[in-house]
Amino acid sequence: MRAMTAIGIAAALVFGAAQEPAKAGPYVADERIIALPEAESPFVAFNIWVKSGSASDPKGKEGLASLTASLISGGSTREDSLEQILEKLYPMAAGYGASVDREMTNVTGRVHRDNLDAFYALFRNALLSPAFTEADFNRLKAQRMNFLERARRYSRDEELSKDLLFWMAYQGTPYQHPAEGYVDSVRSITLDDVRGFYRDHYVRNNVVVAVGGGYPGGFPERVRKDLDTLPQGTVREIAAPAPKPPAGTKILLVEKATDASPISFGYPIALLRDDPDFVPLLVANSYLGEHRNSVGRLYQAIRETRGMNYGNYSYIEAFPGGYATQQPRVNVARRSQLFEIWIRPISQTAPGNLHDRTLFATRAALFELDRLADGGMTPEAVAASKEFLRNYVGTWGATISRRLGYAVDDAFYGIPAPGFLQSLKAAIDKVTPAQVNAAIKKHLHSDTMYMVIVTADAAALKQKILSNQATPITYAGERKAALLEEDKAIAALPFKVKEADITILGIDKVFQ
């Protein structure tokens, strides 16, 4: 669900008389309009960026920004009931949806350009004249409650552990709660709360229009003009969180009947896209744990060589929903980021003592992180990572919607034209081994961190961590002596953690 709602997936046709398309060219990013004309494209994509996200949720009403966005994208308008909207969208393979992250709400849509006018009328009304009916509110709130009470806790433990990592690291800040909110906070949200959030945040000075693809000349300006009928408002500024690394390692164990344990750990890093260290650290991170790729050290060590799980990755920017996508998410831009390692579920029912494999995999990841943080990368390793990454980033902007998403993120970060993605290849080419190693030294360590493990028998796992006993693993086949030697070192790697820093939480209390 991931704070995403969408209506209408169908198809539009009727090949209307095409208007003169806008010329292709570099995009224009200013305070109010982002335009990505691609005259050859048969599609038009929209991304209306509301510069408020879940960090703007009032205390006790966590989840409000997200529920409001779901009413915008999945509710009636004053012009059309939801039934009528669905009926009109049905013969167009078009629809619109909304996503909410900490700092941003993005209402997005995509249509064949022949159907642009019919689609745009619905899309515009969704933003400008939502009806906020009791029926829509009750339906969408009930769906959200079902997600919070059941689906979030019982469908994907690995996604849950990642959400909890951010929750731990951002305690006491506006970034702490997941965008979907808590069970109790969403339960308390009323339709008036939603109307109030819309009134306060969907104001013309808080909204940026982004349009891309084969639209007719002047179209983005027309969209902007329409959105300028929203009232002017004063949006309360949210201070950027500046979380500090924890003193020592803090571990949250989620008690749950499960066959396999996901592990997430990490800590705040003071590094955003416009930082000179960013691209060097992107290269280092690709070497350590490129998302959903077999190139990374973590993947090689834990999956490829030892066959312990399905994958192991690391991140220097938020990457929610990673199980569902191979490419980086757009529109999860933030003013504060974590360094994060994601170990996919480790079997608790494979041969061996309960929890030994879980702790071995955790130690193996710490071992690899340590090795990188202490030893850095060789010039050859830097060159190989650069060679991979310089081409790989070329697949990140495959669709207009993604290119538009990157352009919106550029506006968030203040990155000038031609933008982050377009500049990335050249920036990677320029990175030197010295820069990479300096960035590693400055930003990576394995000493202090937040850690989340979802597991059966959490009390026993807690004791095993505190005991610091070795947690060896066995193999079904023969292994080289060098690997077995390394295993011994990994299995005995000490956890530096105090008893008071390990918390156990029952699954039915998570995000209550």
């Binding site: 048969p42 939801l82 009930a142 030892r306 060679e387 081409n391």
Partner: protein
């Protein structure tokens, strides 16, 4: 990875894509639905390749479709093997011992997925690497080589993959639906396989070699290259790299499912928290572009249970008795199921909601669909496909169902002729013929405790 049957929703609007190069071969025309020019290469060993010119400046998508999936796992104890084998295909050859390293150098986006009817391997990379990719890919399809310890290691990764999604409600439900609806046919098991079979995989090294020998043969593999590349040059490369592949495909003896004679109903417990989910499934025919009643069945799914259906409006929007309602009416290579699935807000309402679904079925068996709704649905299916084809990889994936079902791309056109010809009477006939009680399997999934 997932086992979902995808409807062959295929089409696009003629003339909507600017075409620059005009190679020989099939060209878009007023009578054709597939909007991109392509050429077909057929080698003497039975290997087919479709070379499609489709946008995406400077990039190609390279998709090798093996027409073998969990459907082909006929031996007891070997469920999940097609998927396991997919993993082994990344373990290298003598010429290229490190597949990952080779493709990493290109910065290629690469992955693979296994479904009931196919295993597909794909890369997206800069066009400059096309020949290199063809070399590496053809090599691993002909000369794969891995040692037993590597094989056993990979089996551990499969267990991890099995367990990371094992308790997702949809996975849990899907397993139960298949087990209840099928007794003989291999659609009885999911693509990831039974857990006991997954745990036994490390012992199957010898079997894995025979799997490769039988199924990874040129007659059983279709290549789709889509993107921005020189088609005549690519044709020559296909011959250069694939003509030496020795044929020898041995189709597995898949036992047909006996006709179901009575409705089946089961309640299954989910070991977690969920609202009740009801899946109402009917035995369906195999995908056949020429079977107009079969094509009408896919239309019926949308008309009766889609987001613009009367039932959706009533149950989801007006009465809000269910949290979701959706049809899965795509057909497969062998006769599988079409299904309606709904999540019910109040557990006491389960039977009444089920009755609403069967009442809707009855309505479509007795009355003719509104012509406007039929026309809207045809257009929704057609242009759903057009909207899905933005990238080169999209285009390759969009033709995959037709290739999986028939071994060829060309039946797409036949399918759309059938779709165009579907009448209200055909839709009624589809409801009468396929949505029958004796072919129904209803699974209600509720939480334990």
């Amino acid at each position: 990875m997932r086992q979902v049957f995808v409807a062959a929703m295929v089409v696009a609007c003629v003339g909507s894509h600017p075409l620059t190069a005009q190679p020989q071969g099939v060209q878009p025309s007023a009578r054709r639905v597939f909007p991109f020019p392509y050429e077909t290469v057929v080698l003497e060993n039975g290997f087919r390749a479709y070379l499609i010119k489709a946008g995406a400046p400077g990039q190609v998508a390279y998709v090798s479709i093996v027409r073998t999936g969990s459907r082909d796992e006929v031996e007891p104890g070997k469920s999940g093997f097609a998927h396991f084998f997919e993993h082994m295909m990344f373990r290298g050859t003598e010429k290229y011992p490190n597949y990952d390293a080779e493709t990493t150098k290109m910065g290629a986006f690469r992955n693979a997925s296994t479904w009931a009817d196919q295993t597909a391997y794909y890369l997206v990379a800069n066009t400059e690497y096309l020949e290199k990719i063809m070399d590496i890919e053809s090599d691993r399809f002909m000369n794969l080589k891995y040692a037993e310890p590597d094989f056993r290691t990979e089996a551990g990764a499969i267990l991890g993959e099995y367990q990371q999604g094992a308790r997702e409600p949809q996975r849990w439900l899907n397993e139960k639906v298949r087990e209840a609806a099928f007794e003989k046919h291999t659609y009885r098991h999911t693509t990831i396989g039974f857990e006991a079979d997954v745990r036994a995989m490390p012992q199957a090294y010898e079997y894995s070699k025979s799997f490769y020998q039988r199924f990874y043969r040129p007659e059983n593999v279709v290549l789709v290259v889509a993107g921005d590349f020189d088609i005549p040059k690519a044709k020559a490369l296909v011959t250069k790299y694939y003509a030496g592949w020795t044929p020898g495909y041995k189709p597995p003896p898949i036992e047909p499912e006996p006709a179901q004679t009575a409705p089946r109903e089961r309640t299954v417990k989910y070991p977690g928290r969920t609202l009740p989910i009801v899946a109402i499934n009917y035995k369906a025919p195999a995908w056949d572009a020429k079977n107009r009643t079969g094509v009408a069945l896919e239309v019926l799914g949308q008309v009766a249970f889609g987001p613009n259906s009367a039932l959706y409006r009533k149950l989801v929007l007006q009465e809000r008795r269910v949290q979701s309602l959706f049809p899965s009416f795509g057909l497969s290579r062998d006769p599988y199921l079409v299904s309606v699935q709904t999540m019910i807000s109040n557990p006491a309402d389960v039977e009444a909601v089920e009755a609403e679904v069967t009442a809707a079925v009855k309505t479509f068996q007795e009355t003719l669909v509104d012509p406007k709704q039929l026309a809207d649905t045809k257009s929704a299916i057609k242009y759903g496909f057009l909207m899905s084809m933005e990238t080169a990889q999209d285009v390759a994936f969009a033709v995959m169902p037709t290739i999986v079902n028939t071994g060829k791309l060309e039946p797409i056109e036949e399918y759309f002729r059938s779709l165009d010809a579907v009448t209200p009477e055909d839709v009624r006939e589809a409801a009468r013929k396929y949505l029958i009680d004796s072919g129904r399997t209803t699974i209600t999934m509720v939480q334990e405790g």
